[in-house]
């Protein structure tokens, strides 16, 4: 599904050039659950942004579903992203002015789904995430775990091929964290490809492959049985 080859990303100021990704190469197949680990500043988040088509690399190749997307412009990336990628963030990133229902509905609005269909799909996914009873509440009225479930619901409502999770349990206690990891595992079992950035060895064990990075390069790659 995803093949990156010699991927490079730099950040330059007047005096220094920082290499965030240094000729990174790996593949992710459809249906895999991959965890990316490494110390702070190793380039995990930069990699995730590029994989999520939020950012473009400075060098190398990025093939997404058979398309070379490394040279895509902003509009092309946005179009590909909204139809194929769902995001789960560490700090949930729900919109405070929208209710739970409206937050989850948002990706469907952006992909032009009709109102009736939207309602049906949002209710389905909220039921699945067991958060339907709070659909009219605002994010600030929910606990951390509930907010992250809503975020997961939003990420999957458009049936994306890929879910990118950036420290999804970082702001949660262990109980809620496990709950979210179980959700992600269920989604993966159902066929969704998941790439997760994490510091937690515990969370990494939910994946079936761990890629470790240091200084923008892949250091090790372990398949979990």
């Amino acid at each position: 599904m995803i093949t990156i080859t010699d991927l490079e990303k730099f950040y330059s100021t007047e005096e220094i050039k920082t290499i965030a990704l240094n000729k990174l190469s790996f593949k992710v197949n459809q249906g895999e659950f991959v965890a990316i680990m490494g110390p702070s500043g190793c380039g995990k988040s930069t990699l995730l942004n590029i994989l999520g088509l939020l950012d473009d690399p400075d060098g190398g190749s990025f093939v997404f579903n058979g398309e070379e997307v490394s040279k895509y412009g902003e509009r092309q990336r946005a179009n590909l992203r909204k139809h194929n990628v769902g995001f789960v963030f560490q700090s949930f990133n729900l919109i405070d002015e929208l209710t739970v229902f409206e937050n989850v509905e948002l990706p469907l609005i952006y992909t032009g789904v009709k109102p009736d269909e939207r309602k049906k799909r949002v209710e389905e996914v909220l039921e699945k995430m067991q958060i339907m009873h709070r659909s009219k509440h605002f994010p600030q009225q929910l606990s951390g775990g509930q907010q992250q479930r809503v975020a997961v619901a939003r990420a999957v409502v458009n049936n994306p091929k890929l879910i990118l999770a950036d420290e999804p349990t970082g702001n949660l206690d262990s109980s809620n964290g496990n709950e979210v990891m179980n959700l992600l595992t269920e989604l993966n079992t159902a066929g969704t490809t998941i790439i997760m950035v994490t510091h937690s060895e515990h969370d990494a064990k939910y994946s079936n492959r761990i890629i470790r990075m240091i200084d923008g390069q892949k250091v090790t790659e372990n398949v979990l049985v």
């Binding site: 002015e97 990706p107 952006y110």
Partner: protein
């Protein structure tokens, strides 16, 4: 989708109540100001549109040259009527002669009311088509008929039917009321025409009999409606030389006749050297510009406050983009939010307009009604909302939608130093406009005060003027003078043919020794009695005043200093002047004295050359009385009234205070200055609202920094200065930009006054200091509040 946008916009407004209030109220104030100005401008352009044929009606004017200067006037000699009717028939559908607007006392039983009106030819009714509500359509057929306005009918007759009743006018003639017409609306040139009497009655008066063939007697008005198939420019070409061709004796003055269209009467009736140069239209443009500026300031506020809070919305933009929104959708969202704010502001602005319309009408001397039922107004309002939403919302929409999700999603987005630059530019722009308006208004007021302070040349305080209301006054000036003085109500009296504060008569064609060949003279002509100079408190500069001791003074006259220079006389006393009379003969009069210059007409114009000729026939038109300074005004008036009534028991006591009449000359400029001051204050309030919002936002932004500085020992004063100085810098920059612009514009405006004030540097200092003080006051509230906050609260959240 649009419903979504409005829902989010509404929730955002509720979430940030203070900013929402500042935004919406500031915009509402700006929009209300623009709507009021818009209504005022609409009313100005709608002037005279009440008349069905307004686009075909005009008044005959003439340009005449005199020593290189071309004067323009609407007063015509009577023979012009016949020339236009007989030789230029095809150009006109209707022609009507009319008198100048006059005041008459209309007497019926015990009622005796003064009303203004016109003598008018019957054809004038076809031109102006007054709406007849009682009586006959053509009420001017009979020579002794009178048509009256509805309000006049009510005032005189109450519930009685006025038709067929007899009303006595000043001349003592009895007039039959033949029609009652609806009062002409306030925004017409005929709003104060409350009676119409046939022209044939007017010209039957003995003193006008010779005017029918007199080309030099320019005292009458000619109205016309041009033919349907012609335009004004075409007609003007045709009639330009009509007077010249009909009367070769006028050749020296090179008269050019033209029609001034009705649409120009109100707004474009000022002429300079024969060329139409403008008039009230300048005020219209001035207020249009002010209105646009005030709205612009309100939009700047919106833009500033929206972009200042952008960092709080950056995360939302990042999330939306991450989950699939493209830039166009975000721009639409933010524009919709602007639209909601603008729509709310518009509703509040309508409320403000309704509440303040009456006081505004009073200030502007208008009777504007809110156009609830006017579809055009509401369509324009919708466009106005859309336009304002686009103008004020476009920059925030473009700015906010440009955020890159990668940069904002971490939650640590901060606008760079350059992100504040557009906001600073907008604040500087706001204050430049406000300061320029302040300076402009102060200079206008300074010019008015300067003109008011200009010495009149006589003592206007304690001086009243009584119009001679009937022929009964003739021949009695000495008698009345003695009686008024004996009563104790007055200490001096003189009569005049002109009112003291207006020029109503000019004459030319005089000859004197040393008059240059071909010199086209024109003088203000006033016939006066003995003691006129004394009554007014004028000064004899050379020679002497009229005296009862000299019988020959019946053929004497005084000239003013300007006339002496105009005539080129170094030694004027004893010089003779010949002048033509209406009946074609010549009279010789002698100069016995030179009086000081007095302001008789506009306080902004130079004094005209004037003759004070002895009123040998005692045909006085105005009594000018110097009140007794040892008694109160009320007492004096009571004594004078008693004396008047003893002599003229049937005439009402009507008088004017000369100083009040003179003060009215400033009414138009004072109105403009008052309106400009109101709008300037509004502009400053809007700017302050914006600064208040920005100061509040900035204090919130720098909470952590303030906390740290306090911990390290900063005092409240240190912190107040830290937070205020940025804004003061911006205001100083605005002062430096505004001052030269305001100077250039106002210096240009002052050039139109011959008598004008200097622009004092104090005005600029005051405006600048005022702006700084206002800014400090506005900003200090937030600065001091932030400076006094507990630092532990701001630091513990980090």
């Amino acid at each position: 989708m649009i419903g979504e946008h409005f829902k989010i916009a509404w929730r955002n407004l509720k979430k940030n109540k203070v900013y929402s209030f500042i935004n919406i109220f500031g915009l509402a104030l700006g929009m209300a100001t623009t709507i009021l100005i818009g209504l005022w401008i609409f009313d100005e352009f709608n002037f005279n549109r009440y008349f069905t044929n307004h686009d075909k009606i005009g008044q005959i004017y003439q340009n005449q040259g005199s020593n290189g200067d071309i004067g323009t006037g609407e007063f015509m000699p009577r023979p012009m009527e016949f020339v236009l009717r007989e030789s230029y028939t095809d150009n006109f559908k209707h022609i009507a002669m009319a008198s100048n607007r006059e005041s008459q006392y209309l007497k019926y039983k015990e009622k005796n009311l003064s009303r203004t009106g016109n003598y008018l030819q019957e054809e004038g009714l076809k031109i102006f088509e007054p709406e007849i509500i009682k009586g006959v359509e053509n009420g001017l057929i009979d020579k002794n008929s009178i048509m009256i306005s509805e309000s006049t009918a009510k005032a005189i007759f109450g519930n009685e039917d006025p038709i067929g009743k007899i009303v006595q006018i000043d001349s003592g003639d009895n007039m039959i009321v033949t029609s009652v017409y609806l009062d002409f609306p306030v925004n017409t040139s005929f709003k104060d025409v409350h009676w119409l009497i046939p022209w044939k009655h007017y010209v039957s008066q003995s003193w006008l009999r010779n005017s029918v063939s007199h080309w030099g007697w320019n005292s009458f008005q000619i109205y016309a409606q041009i033919s349907d198939n012609l335009s004004f420019p075409k007609v003007n070409i045709n009639i330009a030389d009509s007077k010249l061709k009909a009367n070769k004796a006028n050749a020296d003055y090179n008269p050019k006749i033209f029609l001034l269209p009705m649409k120009d009467w109100h707004l474009r009736s000022v002429f300079e050297n024969g060329v139409q140069s403008g008039g009230r239209i300048e005020n219209v443009w001035l207020f249009a510009i002010i209105g646009a500026f005030v709205l612009f300031l309100a939009c700047i506020n919106f833009m500033n406050l929206s972009t200042a809070r952008s960092e709080k919305r950056a995360m939302e933009v990042g999330i939306r983009k991450a989950i699939g929104s493209d830039r166009k959708q975000l721009i639409t969202q933010f524009l919709m939010e602007s639209l909601l704010v603008v729509a709310l502001a518009f509703m509040i602005s309508i409320l403000l307009v309704v509440v303040f319309l009456n006081p505004f009408n009073e200030l502007a001397s208008k009777e504007i009604q809110f156009p609830w039922a006017n579809g055009v107004f509401w369509i324009c309002s919708m466009l106005f909302i859309a336009f304002t939403a686009t103008i004020s919302g476009s920059y925030p929409a473009l700015y906010l939608s440009s955020f890159k999700p990668v940069k904002v999603l971490k939650g640590t987005f901060k606008g760079g130093k350059l992100s504040a630059l557009p906001r600073k530019i907008l604040v500087v722009t706001q204050f430049t406009v406000s300061i320029a308006l302040i300076i402009g208004t102060m200079i206008v007021m300074s010019q008015i005060l300067y003109s008011k302070d200009r010495p009149l040349g006589y003592n206007e305080a304690g001086l009243i003027q009584i119009p001679a209301l009937s022929k009964e006054f003739n021949g009695k000036s000495d008698l009345m003078r003695n009686q008024f003085i004996a009563s104790g109500g007055a200490i001096e009296m003189g009569t005049s043919s002109n009112p003291t504060t207006r020029i109503t008569s000019t004459r030319g064609g005089f000859t004197w020794e040393g008059k240059p060949e071909g010199f086209q003279d024109s003088f203000v002509w006033t016939e006066v009695s003995y003691d006129y100079v004394k009554a007014l408190g004028m000064e004899i500069v050379e020679g002497r005043d009229f005296s009862r001791e000299f019988a020959t003074d019946s053929s004497a006259f005084l000239i003013n200093e300007t006339a002496q220079k105009y005539m080129g006389l170094t030694d004027p006393i004893g010089k003779l002047l010949k002048y033509p009379t209406p009946n074609g003969s010549e009279i010789e009069i002698k100069i016995i004295g030179v009086v000081n210059d007095v302001i008789t007409d506009s306080p902004y114009s130079p004094i005209q050359q004037q003759f004070y000729v002895f009123d040998r026939n005692d045909n006085n038109d105005y009594y000018n009385l110097r009140l007794n300074p040892d008694k109160s005004i009320t007492e004096n008036l009571s004594l004078i009234e008693k004396t008047l009534k003893q002599n003229f028991p049937n005439l009402p006591f009507s008088y004017e205070f000369i100083d009040e009449e003179y003060a009215k000359k400033f009414a138009a400029e004072e109105r403009v200055a008052s309106l400009a001051m109101v709008f300037t204050i509004l502009a400053v309030i809007i700017s302050c609202l914006g600064i208040f919002g920005l100061a509040s936002y900035m204090a919130e932004q720098r909470k952590k920094e303030i906390g740290i500085r306090k911990v390290l020992g900063a005092t409240i004063n240190n912190l107040w200065l830290l937070l205020s100085k940025d804004f003061i810098m911006l205001v100083l920059i605005a002062i430096l930009i505004a001052a030269p612009i305001a100077y250039m514009v106002m210096n240009g405006w002052l050039q139109k006054f011959i008598y004008r004030t200097e622009i004092s540097w104090l005005i600029f200092i005051s405006a600048g200091l005022g702006a700084i003080v206002i800014t400090l006051i506005t900003v200090s509230f937030q600065s001091i509040k932030a400076a006094r906050a507990n630092p532990t609260k701001s630091l513990s959240t980090e």
